[in-house]
Each structure stands twice: as structure tokens, then as C-alpha cells.
């Protein structure tokens, strides 16, 4: 099994929680980091820490080369045609906000529509609410069915010549659903709409090719794919980036500055004002090397098998309702569920005692939970280092939760 080979690469997984091995099932929130990524971060600070793009001494050139090499690696990871199309940001959220601000304010006006889905993370919803309010545009939403699949027939109906942008997630961070991005993007282009994809949950777990998907904007981040926090990226077609005004103004992004006006560099630098997150972007390249060394097809296959196993084991627990598609082929390794009689915060609290880390709450997707008519779910999410034993420990822990919160047969004090 893949996990048996890679677990030793992750120092954090070697430690014990409450005397028990750490069972980390929260990789959809952030993944753990392999030692080579951690080492690369230390190496940067110990050996060649310097600001990029301006220095004419050796370590500054070394830092600049490493930063641009990382850009090439990260761009190559999603098969971007040109590395200059990849802008480093601090997160997926910032990448989406960049598009909403720099592209949206020019290209979206009164009466225009932005087509979203009801399964979006707040990061692919709130920026569009802000833009729509400012520009007098309208947001439309594609619902999902009881299997957690987007209702494509409704998408077809809502997509009109008023639609300026379709923005959707490639993989839901709650339902695990993998959306048919390529099919929807092709339809969107027929009416002249642009397509933005939130790839935060997909890029770490499956091969992603932005050219094959045929999209215009693609946002994702490092920390969910074995890289450090604080680094994200926006990929966009060069012609779109070239036509867009800057996002932030400041150093690094200018050609000539006068007191009353400035000219800007070409993409990507036009969109990277200020000293970037040099160390974390460089180290993101090491995370890409690590994942490519294993192979994204192998990771996807491992997770699909483990998801299948987890779904079968979870179905053994009475009163447990798992959300999302029934077929492991149509979903990623994200398992959000409701357990009858136990609130998600109580579930997570009890599991923590056994060293099991899961997430409880609305997972930054309140409208999705409202649609499911629940306020919160418990979410276990899988990655390359998770094993069937991790799933077994989770199932044993959930049996203990059920026992603890089983209705009391006798009342301690009456009323």
C-alpha cells in the first residue's frame, strides 16, 4: 500500500497523541509536510535567504532563480502552457479575490450574471458577493442533488448570454464531489462566459491539466499538497492577465514610477506587488517534486481505494449518514457525515482522546449545510499517508461516541 511507503516521510505522523499514534484525518484543511519540504525551508533561510529580482550578489541571484524555478514547477504541475501565467498569491482565497478585483471590476457590470454553485467554499462565494454588490450584478446558483452531484440541467438553464463568469469548485470540500469542469467550461464558452475553477481540493489529490479542462482562471494553494502555508497561486490565460489592471500596487510590480503615474511590468510580476513569500513559494516546488516522484495517478488510485474502504466501514455504523456521491470514482477522499444523537463537536472531541484528528463544523460552507438542513457535519479527509488502520481506528472511535451519547435509560434527576 502506498501509505506504508510514504508514512516515514512525514515526521509529524511519528508522534503520539494521548499515548496513541496520531491518526490525521484532516488533510482537506491542511496536509502534513514531508521532511524534504521542511528541510528545504530551513536550507533556504540558512543558506540563501535574500530578496528576489533586484539583488546583484550571489545569494540574491540564487533566491531569484529558486523562486522562478518554483514557478515553473508549480505551473508545470497543472500543465500550464507558460510559467508567466502563474501568479504567486498567499492562498487560494487571495487568488480568487485577485480575479474578482482586477478582472471582475472591469468585465462585470449592471445586469450581468455570475454563475456559481451551492457547494462553494466561502472563498469562492464571498468575493463574488462583494463584486456583485459593487457592480450591480446578479449571482445565480446551480444546486446539487441528493447524491451531491451538480444539477447540470439547471446549469444549462441558468447559463445565458448575461453570464459573464462561471465560478465553481473542481472538488467539493464537504461532499467530495468531483465536478464535470471540462464539460461545463465548454458550455460556458459557447455563451462567451469565462470560467474560474477553485482547485484547492483537487490539485493535491489527482492529476490536473488546465489545458485539458479548458478553463480561464484556476486557483489553488500549497499547504493542502504537502507544501507550506502562506503560498497559493492563480493560473490564468496570458491574454486575460495582460488585459487586466493590477491588483495590489507597490514595489516589484512596476516598470517606471512618476509622482502622478506608473507603468507596470508584464505578467506575472504585474500581480506580485511587494516582497513575495519567497521561502514558501520556493519550497512549494519541493512539494511538487515530492508528489511527482510518487505520481498523481498513484495518489488518486490509493485515495479512491481507501475512500471505498472507508465508505464501506462507515456504513456499518448505525445512525451514520454520509454525504456526497455513492461512487468513489465520482468523489475524492472527503467523508462528511452526521451521526444521529451526537453533535459534530462532541464527535470530534471524543475522537481527539484517541488521537484521531477530524474536523467539525460548517467547513466554510454554510450555504451547503443549509441545503442539507444541518448546521454542522463531522469531516474525515484522506491523503496519501492514510491507511486502512486509520479508518479502522476512526470506526472504533465512532462506536465509542455512539455508546457515550446513547440515550440514557434512567434519568439522574427528574423534572
Amino acid at each position: 500500500m502506498l501509505a506504508d511507503r510514504v508514512r516515514a516521510d512525514f515526521p509529524i505522523l511519528q508522534q503520539r497523541m494521548n499515548g496513541k499514534p496520531l491518526v490525521y484525518l484532516d488533510s482537506a484543511a491542511t496536509s502534513q509536510k514531508p521532511k524534504r519540504v521542511i528541510d528545504a525551508l530551513v536550507r533556504y533561510y540558512e543558506e540563501y535567504n535574500a530578496n528576489v529580482h533586484r539583488g546583484i550578489y550571489r545569494i540574491a541571484e540564487q533566491a531569484t532563480e529558486a523562486y522562478e524555478a518554483a514557478r515553473r514547477k508549480v505551473a508545470g504541475f497543472i500543465n500550464a502552457p507558460r510559467p508567466e501565467e502563474l501568479i504567486f498569491t498567499r492562498s487560494t482565497t487571495e487568488a480568487i479575490n485577485l480575479v474578482a478585483y482586477a478582472w471582475g471590476r472591469v468585465n462585470v457590470g449592471p445586469g450581468d450574471e455570475i454563475l456559481l454553485t451551492e457547494m462553494e467554499h466561502h472563498s469562492n462565494l464571498v468575493p463574488w458577493q462583494l463584486l456583485a454588490a459593487e457592480r450591480g450584478a446578479t449571482l445565480r446558483f446551480v444546486p446539487f442533488d441528493d447524491q451531491g452531484m451538480l444539477e447540470v440541467a439547471v446549469f444549462d438553464r441558468l447559463l445565458t448570454d448575461r453570464t459573464r463568469l462561471v465560478a465553481l469548485t473542481q472538488q467539493s470540500n464537504v461532499l467530495g464531489t468531483i465536478n464535470p469542469v471540462r464539460e461545463l467550461a465548454a458550455k460556458a464558452h459557447l455563451v462567451g462566459a469565462k470560467v474560474l475553477v477553485d482547485g484547492a481540493q483537487s490539485v493535491p489529490h489527482m492529476p490536473v491539466d488546465v489545458q485539458h479542462l479548458g478553463v480561464d482562471f484556476f486557483a489553488f494553494s500549497a499547504h493542502k499538497m504537502c507544501g507550506p502555508t502562506g503560498a497559493g497561486a492563480l493560473w490564468a490565460r496570458y491574454d486575460l492577465l495582460d488585459a487586466m489592471p493590477p491588483f495590489h500596487g507597490g514595489g516589484e510590480m512596476i516598470m517606471l514610477v512618476h509622482l502622478d503615474r506608473s507603468t507596470y511590468k508584464d505578467p506575472p510580476h504585474k500581480f506580485e506587488a511587494g516582497t513575495p513569500n519567497i521561502a514558501d513559494c520556493i519550497v512549494w516546488g519541493d512539494a511538487v517534486d515530492y508528489l511527482q516522484g510518487i505520481g498523481m495517478h498513484s495518489i488518486r488510485e490509493h485515495e479512491t481505494q481507501l475512500t471505498h474502504y472507508a465508505m464501506r466501514r462507515l456504513s456499518e455504523i448505525p445512525g451514520l449518514r454520509l454525504f456526497g456521491p455513492e461512487s468513489p470514482q465520482r468523489r475524492g477522499g472527503i467523508l462528511a457525515f452526521d451521526l444521529d444523537g451526537a453533535h459534530p463537536h462532541d464527535v470530534a472531541q471524543v475522537l481527539d482522546q484517541d488521537g484521531i484528528a477530524v474536523r467539525a463544523g460548517h467547513h466554510c460552507a454554510q450555504p451547503l449545510h443549509r441545503r442539507l438542513d444541518i448546521s454542522a457535519t463531522t469531516r474525515a479527509s484522506l491523503y496519501l499517508y492514510n491507511t486502512e488502520e486509520d479508518v479502522d481506528t476512526l470506526v472504533t472511535g465512532l462506536q465509542a461516541v455512539r455508546k457515550l451519547f446513547a440515550p440514557r435509560t434512567t434519568s439522574v434527576s427528574g423534572s
Binding site: 471524543v350 463544523g361 451519547f405 440515550p407 440514557r408 434519568s411 439522574v412
Partner: protein, 155 residues
């Protein structure tokens, strides 16, 4: 941090058999409380008679700690004056903030003391109490029936 400290038997009992659960028609005080962080929700209904809590009920959904705390609160404040109920709320919150309190002051509520060791859960325990305080404060200001809103962010 033993789990038994958090999930004392009396808490689990109140969670699975909540006391005074349900709506109260024509209440003098109605407060809708919410913990935006974790989605706990509860509404409290208070009926006053001669300055005392004649009846109190709650409805809501949320974790065991928030629901058990509300259930225990309804039992404890029935028959108390507004000032007495608020004083009890003050002592309860003091306990959750780490002050030493005696069983004489809080009775069964002492079972919730263990929540202190789990800082993210403290707001679950105090939600019903801050909602009660908010409702009583607004009732006094309005000198009449009120519908108030409270969140666990109030401390």
C-alpha cells in the same frame, strides 16, 4: 485531560433528557442565542410573575455542552428574581473563566466546571447564560416584553 471531566454523567443526562424543553406562549422575555463559531442555536423563553421567573423553557440545537447547560439553567433559575438569576449567571461565567466557586453557589452546575479544560468549548457552556443576561437587561431597559438576540461573543 480526561474526557470524563467534560462529559460528566449529569451533563449527558441533561443532553439526552433535556428539562423544560419547548416554546413558552406569550413570554415576557424571548432571546435567540447563537454561537456563530460552531452553529449552536438556542432560544430561551421566560415568563415572569411578581418579579420572579415563573416559568422558563428553551428550544435549540447544538452540542451536548450547550444544550445541557441550557437545560440545567432552566432548572436553576425557576423561582428566582431577575437580580438573583443574573447573579447566578455571573457566578457561572466566573467559574467558566477559572474562578473558584462553591457547590453552595452553583449546585449541579458545578458539573460543567470540567469544560474549562477545553477552551474552545467554554462558549458552548456560556451561550444560554449570556442569552439570559441579554434578555433580562433588555427587559429592564424596555420595562416590558422583549425579543432579544444574543451571541456567545458577549462575555
Amino acid at each position: 485531560m480526561a474526557l470524563d471531566d467534560l462529559y460528566r454523567e449529569v451533563i449527558l443526562d441533561h443532553y439526552s433528557h433535556p428539562r423544560n424543553k419547548g416554546e413558552l406562549p406569550d413570554p415576557d422575555i424571548k432571546v435567540e442565542g447563537a454561537n456563530p463559531l460552531c452553529g449552536d442555536e438556542l432560544s430561551i423563553f421566560v415568563k415572569l410573575d411578581g418579579g420572579r421567573v415563573a416559568d422558563v423553557r428553551f428550544v435549540g440545537r447544538g452540542c451536548s455542552i450547550s444544550q445541557a447547560s441550557a437545560s440545567m439553567m432552566t432548572e436553576q433559575i425557576k423561582g428566582k428574581t431577575i437580580d438573583e438569576a443574573r447573579a447566578l449567571a455571573g457566578r457561572f461565567k466566573a467559574m467558566m473563566q477559572g474562578e473558584a466557586v462553591s457547590e453552595d453557589e452553583l449546585g449541579e452546575l458545578l458539573a460543567l466546571q470540567g469544560v474549562r479544560k477545553f477552551p474552545v468549548r467554554v462558549k458552548c457552556a456560556t451561550l444560554s447564560w449570556v442569552a439570559l443576561e441579554q434578555g433580562m437587561d433588555e427587559f429592564e431597559t424596555a420595562r416590558g416584553k422583549v425579543t432579544a438576540k444574543a451571541t456567545s461573543e458577549r462575555s
